[in-house]
């Protein structure tokens, strides 16, 4: 390290690794109840992680949640952008993941045809 600029460059590179431990941007929440897992939630999760890695979306958090009672619509996947409504997508398949991330997570356009619920941000 030769200068303060070097330090800043290194810091910016390393910072993303720790974002998880601070409050940060968009959250993707995947239903991981027994029903969800049976419907393929793990595969959806894997697809989400792959897609995020491919797009270098390091400040997107991926969380799981348990069964919320719409078992027939599993796999359920929520997208929660800061300051916006929490959108729940139903019957998500791994192949849908790319579309949801590209349109909603990145560009803020809700993929309306897959939405099964919406909770307004208070």
């Amino acid at each position: 390290m030769k200068s303060l600029a070097d330090l800043h460059a290194l810091r910016d590179k390393l910072k993303s690794d720790l974002k998880l431990r601070k409050e940060s941007g968009t959250k993707i929440i995947i239903g991981m109840g027994t029903c969800g897992i049976a419907a393929g939630a793990r595969e959806v999760m894997a697809a989400v992680l792959d897609e995020l890695a491919r797009r270098h979306l390091t400040d997107v958090q991926v969380q799981q949640t348990g069964c919320i009672g719409m078992c027939d619509k599993e796999v359920l996947l929520d997208v929660l952008r800061p300051g916006e409504a929490r959108i729940t997508y139903g019957n998500v398949k791994p192949e849908d993941v790319s579309k949801i991330i590209a349109n909603h997570v990145v560009n803020g356009n809700i993929v309306e045809e897959m939405v099964v619920g919406k909770i307004e941000n208070k």
């Binding site: 390393l14 690794d17 991981m32 958090q61």
Partner: protein
């Protein structure tokens, strides 16, 4: 590269390690692999979170779920339920001691809610053996800023303006100390970090060194730049092997990264840091004794002046601060003196880390803004007294400090209020005592400590504390004499006025403060030969009451045949033979034996 969706932070502080955190960590590694989560969940070993009573601690991010007292057997459940299925393992959550309410999140726990973590900000949050994590959270930014954008004068000025005072006990203004060392003209100067934490029960410095070693290195380097020193020593007790190991790793990584060594940040400033292990003599925390010890001599204090800023290590100007003091420096440089001086009181700025121990529910480390009341620390953060007992006193400042009674609970905790109350900040050890504690016994405990840790150099400390201890001992053994209190006071005042170093000058404080607030307890011991707290064994007698059924068990248990009585008749204890071991009472099936 895989997207990491969760971090599992396992505490690797000394306390958690001793309660099994290494096994927990290993179990996580095994089960993450078993559930094929190893590529999406990162396992991190951190330093201490300060909540040692509840360790080993595990925090899972991004949720921030805080699991307490985790054993290796719990790990499979956490991996399967939480990390795989997203269900919090509720039985491992923290419960508030007063409400029994479960609290899933780290920052909502009462213990942490009132804390304000500057010094401990990274402890438990980053991997102390990875300089990258420290850099990622803004580490070494302050050093860079100081070296490239500030003059040494400006650095000293900023530290002065911040109002930071020495966290090792004395509370001397840090910036002023730096200014003195800077003003000394010499071809060579030194920076010393005093990590010879010795107060019984205090472990904040160890936690910082274990959990965030780079913060201390950065503070020392900034100090070196400010005063014109190119070499630093960390004097750390050999009883802190983990701290020493992490410091070694940190120094090596910082040198590797060019953050220590020659021409740091291209500024032309050189700074190297050595570790010197001490053997743990309490007096070596005194700065002149500490320097003697680094020089390879017997750790004995020498008179000041000359102060270390003029003639310190090997006769060269030296600035010496303790771990917690250095740990504040980077934040002050980064955020400015004004930001820092917003915390605390008019004369005691910033935060202070306290080590809570004793009869308190949440033992551990708490960093709070100066000026918070003792009541907030003990009840809001500490969760109150264990077993629903009544609060009696809090001892603050270790062997140099004093005991404060309930009436002082609303005292704002800052340097000057504590001194006025007859205690002192010390390094921040807080020992909470309940109604079962005898205050004469407490004074005796601390005097025993100082007497055995006295270096023996000056007469008042060597001989005087011995005589004080003898008087206290006879008081607790029912041999107290009329006039003993006055004798103690006279001796205490003389020792305070004449001892050579801080250890001796403050040694009488535990006696003086208990005499000030609990004089009646001394009088009870002396006049009525009674220990009101029922703690002084030699003053107790065991008595067999009317519930005795004559089962003979106590007589058989007594190791000195002090109990006699016929079968099915009430037994009697011969008090002249009784050695007060308590075996009779412990074994009585009818609870017929009482002590008092």
């Amino acid at each position: 590269m895989q997207h990491i969706r969760a971090h599992v932070l396992v505490c690797g502080g000394t306390a958690c390690k001793s309660s099994g955190s290494q096994k927990v960590r290993d179990a996580f590694a095994r089960y993450l692999e078993e559930y094929k989560l190893q590529d999406e969940v990162m396992l991190v070993e951190t330093g201490c979170h300060g909540f040692c009573e509840h360790g080993p601690l595990v925090i899972v991010y991004p949720e921030g779920t805080f699991y307490c007292r985790v054993t290796a057997d719990d790990v499979k459940e956490i991996v399967e339920q939480h990390l795989y299925k997203g269900r919090i393992v509720e039985r491992l959550l923290y419960r508030e001691p007063l409400t029994q309410e479960q609290v899933p999140n780290y920052d909502e726990i009462g213990f942490y809610k009132k804390q304000h973590r500057i010094v401990l900000a990274n402890c438990g949050e980053i991997d102390p053996e990875n300089v990258g994590e420290y850099i990622a959270v803004g580490g070494y930014e302050a050093l860079g800023k100081a070296l490239t954008q500030m003059s040494p004068e400006q650095v000293v000025e900023e530290v002065k303006k911040s109002g930071l005072r020495g966290r090792g006990g004395g509370g001397f203004p840090t910036g002023l100390k730096w200014q003195f060392a800077k003003a000394s003209v010499s071809d060579k100067k030194y920076v010393i970090c005093n990590a010879d934490e010795g107060d019984p029960g205090a472990f904040m410095d160890r936690s910082v060194l274990e959990g965030d070693p780079h913060r201390v290195l950065e503070g020392m380097a900034i100090c070196g730049y400010a005063i014109g020193a190119d070499e630093g020593y960390i004097y750390v007790r050999a009883e802190y092997p983990l701290a020493i190991k992490r410091l070694r790793v940190a120094i090596a990584q910082a040198e590797e990264a060019g953050l220590l060594g020659r021409n740091i940040f291209g500024s032309g400033f050189d700074f190297t840091i050595h570790i010197k292990e001490g053997a743990g003599a309490f007096v070596c925390g005194e700065e002149t004794a500490l320097m003697a010890s680094i020089e390879g001599k017997r750790g004995m204090p020498r008179p000041r002046p000359p102060f270390p800023a003029v003639s310190g290590l090997w006769g060269k100007p030296t600035n010496i601060n303790n771990v917690e003091t250095f740990a504040n420096v980077a934040q002050i440089i980064n955020n400015g003196a004004e930001w820092y001086s917003r915390f605390g009181t008019e004369k005691s700025k910033g935060t202070k880390v306290f080590a809570l121990t004793g009869k308190i529910n949440n033992t551990g480390l708490a960093e709070v803004p100066m000026g918070i009341t003792m009541r907030e620390i003990i009840y809001d953060i500490g969760g109150g007294i264990t077993n629903g007992k009544k609060f009696k006193a809090v001892q603050i400042g270790g062997p140099s400090g004093g005991c404060l009674p309930e009436s002082m609970l609303d005292l704002p905790v800052d340097y000057d209020s504590l001194i006025a109350a007859g205690a002192m900040m010390g390094s921040g050890g807080l020992v909470v005592m309940d109604e079962d504690t005898c205050m004469v016994d407490v004074a005796k405990f601390f005097l025993t400590f100082t007497q055995s840790e006295s270096c023996g150099k000056c007469t008042p400390c060597r001989e005087g504390t011995k005589r004080m201890l003898e008087i206290l001992t006879r008081i607790t053994e029912g041999e107290g004499r009329e006039g003993d209190i006055e004798l103690l006071e006279s001796l205490a005042e003389n020792i305070k006025a004449t001892a050579l170093c801080g250890l001796g000058q403050s040694a009488p404080n535990p006696v003086l403060s208990t005499l000030r607030y609990f004089r009646h307890e001394y009088e009870e011991h002396i006049k009525n030969k009674r220990c009101p707290a029922g703690a002084c064994e030699k003053m107790l007698s065991y008595i067999i009451g009317d519930d005795c059924k004559g089962c003979t068990k106590c007589a058989r248990n007594c190791p000195v045949q002090a109990i006699s009585g016929a079968v099915k008749q009430k037994h009697v204890i011969d008090q002249s033979k009784c050695i007060k071991c308590g075996a009779c009472m412990a074994g009585c099936p009818f609870k017929a034996i009482t002590k008092g």
